[in-house]
Amino acid sequence: MLLIPCPWCGARDESEFTCGGEAHIRRPADPDALDDAHWADYLFMRANPKGSHRERWCHSHGCGRWFNVERDTVTHGIVSVYRMGEPPPGGDGS
């Protein structure tokens, strides 16, 4: 059970949160400009790295806010937590 530091509420048990998958996937501004393969990439393809991974989490049983978590998928250590719209502490997230 992870202990997740919500940027609004502080450290809380994982069971209070919902994981929203990989962070920094932007919805294409003009979906029509994408062919089917690229649209499918946006829809379905997600990174599954061994090591550092940036994810979206929502404190759904707390303040209800979404934020970003950088988590090590091997050790489950939380490297950093930052609010929506903020740049990732360790480098660009685009």
């Binding site: 202990l3 932007r26 919805r27 979906p31 029509d32 929502c58 806010r65 489950h76 929506m84 719209g85």
Partner: protein, 980 residues
């Protein structure tokens, strides 16, 4: 010591002034307070306590702790029955009732033992190989095998006991209250940390044999008990180690008190502990030796024999052979000897039984047979003889076999550090050749190991490591390690070429060294495959005693080093956890919240039958004097079609969407356009996932320029709210929109039927109900029955219909006014509502849709705007979405109007011919329509209404029903009634 022939007159940590009566297999015995069931049985001379799992071999007590594979017992009866309790862990209490498992009629004479005679026919994998043929045969064999297999009996009936869950936080959690754990707890506590110290035994102090040492530990315990920042949990097994130093522990609060347990205490408590740091002082578990017939009653671990004589003042036998491949068993030999057990010999597998310990034993006059091994044993219900032979340099047997008479063989095959929790925490294990053991390596989380888990063999090293770990100071992990000097074989060779006598590795699962060799020969060479093929390390003990020897034998068979073979994965729980403790108080009415509408009491008094919709209780139908469900639903439907009905629709989700960009949000979320929706008007909307699949539907009303009230289906209310929030927070933070859930603040009552206008007119004087003034899909504000209300002219039944929305507190008054006798309004439930909407061909989210259905499949192109983007639009443009083979919504009419198809029935293009055929669709909704006097159904079928020919076949259990595809709008297809 009347009745306890094996009890010593003095010594031990038992209270001779408090005799305790108990029964085992129907016979009455007496033990003392402080006994475990195992020690009390041994005191009474009971060594045969059960039968083994597969061969039904007589088995006794192997250990004195949690690792026990053999002495499993059934406790209690009925709903309080407990299967497979370990006799070595059950604390004795007055009136305890225990019995053997896995034997019939009893452990002394067990019919299942026929398996033992047939053992050559049933090696590892026997069941897999034999019962796979013929392939239909399994159904027959399975019943027989299931009856034969299994250990204890499951309790009969719901668990009557109460359990609790407790959340706890601490700076330092110390697991194990032996010398290392106590030292760690004291050091941490003295440094000011909040400490939790947990130990599975009834008293802190560990398993030290020496009384003087135990006394010193008592002082430490007393100091800890006085400190406010220390919580000591006894009878508490830390059983799971999860991420971020989150651990689960099971406290057995009253199990040891039996019927005398105070009523205010729960039976067990599940601790959920978040620790800053963890110190694992979990000790080590002794390994048995692998030799022929090493499983007879009276053969036990040397450490267990020592514990029984020292701690419980019980003689586990009167004449013992001690056999070992390391120094630790000499202590056991000396303690047994001191307490009057005759030591026939100490058999040491190592070539030169030299060094301090053997010298001490020799000085005490014990005979030491160095370079020898016990190669076999005899004795049916208790071991009678040990057979000893010399071991050659290469590990083979040489010379004559000597027979030593004995009633106890105390064995030691070395020690396994209890690394289970460390491994669960993500820690790596390193095989140490010198120690012949897997040791913890590194620190995956904020965790330290101290004491025997590190291989420390003496008390001083354990205490030093504990102190350092507790204080967070560096220590010497390697301190106190004693090399296993020998290269003694992991399995003692058989005494003759025939390989007579099975050599057990895993006692609980009856896995022998030959089974392991067989598995390796047959290709199950990965340790994980070996486990599943032979069941090595499964069962209630999870191979705590047998696993390492099993791995070593596998490695030997394959010609590999032990680290190359590795270990199977350690998973929680370390020791079985009661389901009741996991559930805690979340049972029965507390399992899940129940949501009731503000009109619930009226429904109850009216005798409504309720339906669960998510957490909501909704009236399903209202049976009147002896009506069946069918009768009630038909009456309610006809009342709505011919007069008027009311339904409590308060459970619909209601979300207030407001802010300058509210319209923009609706435009992006819903498939249709919202730019021109004026205040006072409503619109039906459909929302999709980004994959183009239908998510939810509902009506949204424009309350004022930038204020909208959106409704969702009952089951999706919180999901839709979360969905909108997610987009607003993560993707469109630039949109200035605020969402407020009003689901529970507002109540909705739907008034439907041709008389609806007339009835509503009698209850309001400030809303103009004339069709021109208040058309379909409009809403008005005013007073209804004197209550402030919003009235929405929308319809889910196809009739003229008003949904009246009032503050929740006014709902009962509104409902009472509407159902007054002067109005002749019929309350209707969700089933009538379903029938009425199906007659209209309206879709029901979750029934016609299942996450794979697009608006195109529902022939709802009309609701897809071409002028804007919306969530899911791009996905609908994929060619696959227009595949003519996609299932599309249709109406179905059965040939026989009386036949109501079951929902979920599969649909075929042709009558079934006996060979597998493609299923082209399924029935999504199906009802008897009282309005039409026939059955109706909605279905998703390949090709939809374009399908030719339009006849399909629905195979049921006993017949096949012909049906024809038609327009799903069975009733008033042009909507004349609701628009009127």
């Amino acid at each position: 010591m009347t009745g306890q022939p094996y009890r010593l007159a003095e010594g031990g940590a038992i209270d001779r002034s408090r005799p305790v009566g108990f029964s085992f297999d129907g016979r009455r015995y007496t033990g003392f307070a402080g006994d475990t069931l195992a020690s009390a049985l041994l005191a009474n001379g009971v060594t045969l306590v059960g039968r083994s799992f597969k061969y039904h071999r007589p088995r006794g007590i192997l250990s004195a702790g949690t690792e026990e594979p053999n002495a499993l017992v059934q406790l209690g009866t009925g709903a309080r029955g407990i299967a497979n309790a370990k006799a070595t862990r059950v604390e004795l209490h007055e009136g305890l009732v225990a019995s053997s498992v896995n034997c019939w009629p009893g452990p002394r004479c067990d019919l299942g033992a026929l398996n033992d005679l047939a053992h050559r026919l049933i090696p590892a994998g026997f069941y897999y190989k034999t019962f796979m043929w013929p392939h239909r045969g399994w159904h027959f064999y399975e019943r027989l095998i299931r009856r034969m297999a299994g250990l204890g009996r499951a309790p009969e009936g719901a668990d009557p006991d109460r359990y609790e869950r407790m959340n706890a936080h601490c700076d330092v959690l110390v697991v194990g209250a032996g010398p290392a754990g106590l030292a760690a707890a004291r050091a941490a506590a003295r440094g000011g940390s909040r400490v939790i110290l947990a130990d599975e035994r009834g008293l802190p102090g560990g398993t030290l044999p020496d009384a003087a040492d135990t006394g010193r530990l008592g002082e430490t315990t007393a100091e800890l008990e006085d400190l406010d920042n220390v919580r000591i949990l006894v009878r508490t097994t830390v059983t799971g180690y999860f991420d971020h130093n989150f651990l689960i522990a099971l406290e057995r609060v009253t199990d040891h008190l039996g019927p005398h347990a105070p009523a205010h205490l729960p039976r067990q408590r599940l601790w959920r502990i978040r620790a800053g740091r963890v110190v694992l002082a979990t000790g080590a578990l002794e390994r048995p030796l692998v030799f022929a017939n090493n499983d007879r009653p009276g053969i036990m671990l040397a450490s267990a024999a020592r514990a029984y004589v020292n701690r419980f003042a019980v003689l586990p036998g009167r004449r013992a052979v001690v056999v070992t491949d390391n120094d630790s068993a000499y202590g056991a030999a000396l303690d047994l000897h001191r307490n009057g057990v005759e030591i026939a010999a100490v058999v040491d597998l190592r070539r030169n039984g030299e060094g301090g310990k053997p010298a001490e034993a020799r000085a005490a006059g014990l005979q030491i047979l160095a370079g020898h091994a016990v190669v076999d044993s005899r004795g049916r219900r208790r071991v009678r003889t040990a057979h000893v032979a010399r071991l050659d340099d290469d590990g083979s047997l040489t010379g004559p076999v000597r027979t030593l008479s004995c009633d106890l063989i105390a064995m030691s095959g070395g020690w396994n550090p209890a690394v289970h929790l460390f491994s669960q925490a993500g820690g790596r294990l390193r095989y140490d050749e010198a120690l012949r053991a897997f040791l913890p390596e590194g620190a995956p989380q904020a965790v330290r190991c101290a004491g025997a888990i590190n291989g420390a063999a003496d008390t001083a090293s354990c205490i030093a490591q504990g102190r350092a770990a507790g204080a967070g100071e560096p220590d010497d992990r390697a301190a106190g390690r004693v090399e296993a000097a020998s290269r003694a074989p992991w399995a003692v060779p058989a005494r003759n070429r025939a390989g007579e006598g099975r050599r057990f590795v895993d006692f609980q699962n009856d896995v022998t060294s030959a089974d392991i060799a067989l598995a390796a020969r047959e290709g199950y060479q990965s340790v994980e495959h070996l486990k599943r093929y032979t069941t090595l390390g499964m069962g209630t003990d999870q191979g705590k005693t047998g696993n390492v020897a099993g791995l070593a034998i596998l490695a030997q068979t394959l010609g590999l080093a032990i680290p190359e073979v590795g270990t199977t994965t350690f998973r929680p729980p370390y020791d079985p956890v009661t389901f009741g403790a996991i559930a805690g108080r979340d049972v029965g009415r507390l399992a899940d919240p129940v949501r009731r509408t503000p009109i619930h009491r009226w429904h109850e008094e009216a005798g409504a039958v309720f339906e669960d919709v998510g957490q909501w209780k909704r009236p399903f139908y209202y049976p009147q004097d002896g009506e069946t469900k069918h009768g009630a639903v038909a009456r309610e439907c006809l009342a709505v079609r011919n007069a008027a009905g009311v339904m409590d629709a308060s459970t619909l989700g209601k979300i207030l969407v407001c802010g300058p960009d509210a319209r923009a949000l609706l435009n992006r979320i819903y498939t249709n356009a919202w730019d021109r929706l004026e205040a006072g008007r409503c619109r039906y909307g459909l929302m999709l996932g980004e994959d183009g699949m239908v998510l939810d539907d509902g009506v949204t009303a424009c309350l004022a320029g930038n204020r909208f009230l959106t409704t969702t289906t009952t089951g999706n209310a919180s999901r839709v709210f979360a969905w909108l929030e997610e987009w607003l927070q993560t993707e469109w933070p630039d949109l200035d929109v605020y969402l407020t859930s009003l689901t529970e603040q507002l109540a909705t009552v739907a008034l439907a039927g041709p008389n609806a206008r007339e009835i509503l007119a009698a209850l309001t004087d400030d809303i103009d109900l004339e069709p021109d003034a208040f058309p379909f899909m409009a809403w008005r504000e005013g007073r209804v029955a004197g209550l402030p209300a919003r009235v929405f002219r929308v319809s889910y039944t196809g009739e003229l219909s008003y949904e009246i929305v009032v503050p929740a507190g006014d709902a009962m008054d509104l409902w009472t006014a509407l159902t007054g006798p002067e109005h002749a309004v019929t309350p209707f439930g969700t089933e009538a509502m379903h029938v009425l909407r199906a007659e209209k061909g309206y879709l029901m989210i979750g029934q016609e849709t299942d996450g794979t259905v697009t608006p195109l499949d529902l022939d709802m192109q009309w609701i897809l705007s071409r002028k804007k983007d919306f969530i899911g639009r791009r996905s609908l443009a994929r060619p696959a979405m227009r595949d003519p083979l996609r299932k599309r919504l249709v109406g179905l009419e059965t040939g026989d109007p009386a036949t109501v198809l079951p929902e979920g029935a599969q649909i075929l293009a042709e009558p079934p011919s006996g060979v597998p055929e493609a299923m082209i669709g399924h029935v999504t909704s199906s009802y008897w329509s009282p309005t039409l006097g026939r059955s109706i159904a909605l279905a998703l079928v390949q090709g939809g209404r374009d399908r030719e020919p339009p006849t399909v076949h629905v195979p049921l259990d006993d017949r096949t029903v012909r049906a024809s595809i038609r327009d799903p709008r069975f009733y008033d297809p042009d909507g004349v009634r609701m628009n009127g």
